[in-house]
Symmetry: C2
Subunit: 240 residues, 2 copies
């Protein structure tokens, strides 16, 4: 028995917060701008949230949930596939095809998600240092790197991956690429063709760039002055 609260207050605050958050950055976003944008006064804000951070926490939380759901979806898809049995030796082709399809589908979903949240991820990447959100994006990225590393090792065990591919570097490479893509998304006006990206990346990772025959690895030679100890991998081709 009393005046009822505006039912849209919270949701419109969150929406306005996301907007201001993106426009001004986490540190410079002002509560008064947010409340004005939804026709409320500063005082009203504190009826719904305890602090500026509490509001942002809601925005960031939504993002975290979405990405977490996506990551576990991929893990489950992998687990289900592997559970059906890894191909014993040489006719791995259908297995590979299915793996490839999972990756393509999940990568595409990931890009869609990055597209929807490109404004927020951008701010979290570039402007969260010194706030309570500074770790959010990097933690998510580290988790992705770890995931790729694990999958990579599993592939090696099943002999579906060259043995000398370093899992850590591959993880940084794949996730790093997506990181730059995500960053680039935030500068675009309209959604690009994600299939293009997904396929280009898959091919590039799987095949490399070599267009000419592979030179035989030099046998223990020490021609280079300074770079030849510690030969972890056989050197073969040029790079860029």
């Amino acid at each position: 028995m009393a005046r009822p609260a505006d039912p849209h207050a919270r949701s419109s605050l969150v929406a306005a917060a996301r907007h201001e958050f993106v426009r001004a950055g986490i540190q410079k976003a002002r509560i008064e701008d947010i409340t004005q944008a939804c026709g409320l006064s500063k005082g009203a804000f504190y009826l719904h949230y305890d602090s500026k951070e509490a509001l942002f926490r809601e925005v960031v939380g939504q993002l975290e949930v979405q990405f977490e759901v996506m990551r576990t979806a991929r893990e489950n898809a992998y687990a289900e596939l592997i559970g059906r049995g890894v191909p014993s030796a040489r006719q791995a082709s259908p297995f590979i095809a299915e793996l490839q399809e999972i990756d393509a589908r999940e990568d595409r979903k990931l890009l869609e998600l990055l597209w929807d949240w490109r404004d927020v991820t951008d701010v979290l990447l570039r402007g969260s240092q010194g706030t309570e959100f500074e770790g959010v994006m990097w933690t998510m990225l580290d988790r992705e790197v770890a995931r790729v590393e694990l999958e990579c090792r599993a592939m090696k065990d099943a002999h579906l991956l060259r043995d000398d591919v370093p899992a850590d570097v591959l993880g940084l490479m794949i996730v790093g690429t997506y990181l730059l893509v995500a960053r680039r998304l935030s500068t675009l006006q309209e959604k690009p063709d994600f299939d293009h990206w997904v396929r280009a990346l898959q091919t590039l990772i799987a095949q490399g760039t070599s267009g000419i025959p592979v030179a035989p690895p030099k046998k223990k030679s020490t021609q280079k002055k300074q770079n030849s100890r510690n030969a972890i991998l056989p050197r073969k081709k040029k790079r860029s």
Copy 2:
């Protein structure tokens, strides 16, 4: 004829600024902490610099110069090599070896530079949004991507690179990897073995990850429900 200024004032302010800048982030670094760190008062600061930003500009400027020098060094090395003539057709091997060596050397130098400046680059990446420095790192990265793209096209023209390798994706991939590596450097206590990284990356880029024979590309099949129009590249291998 008068009291001479402390000759180390500027340089010790810059040093202290870099330290505070890293500790607290650009936005939260306080002038008084910086001056106290070098035994000066707040007032003295304004004898040497007009504002907080002016001081940080000096720190960031040093970094920009260093990276610019490095980038042009690589460009020159490439130009010099290409100026000596691109191999006509099939005995490209020594040319490739030299290219590879340039890349290895320059990549290593780049990692050393990233190591020396890891604290500052980290702050610029994560905490510069909303400041005048927000574009610095991303501009440098974009320049690097553009460089890789150009080199990639040149390689293709000389038939040293598979024709279907998309230059833009390759650029994002290489630079994205270095970006994550740089970020990871800032969490390390001691300098890792850069040769390891450089070689792993070179091999991975050139060779890809495939450990099993390449399946023939499907001829225009439309098996996949949603992902098969717009086939920019032949699909071949799995990814991670």
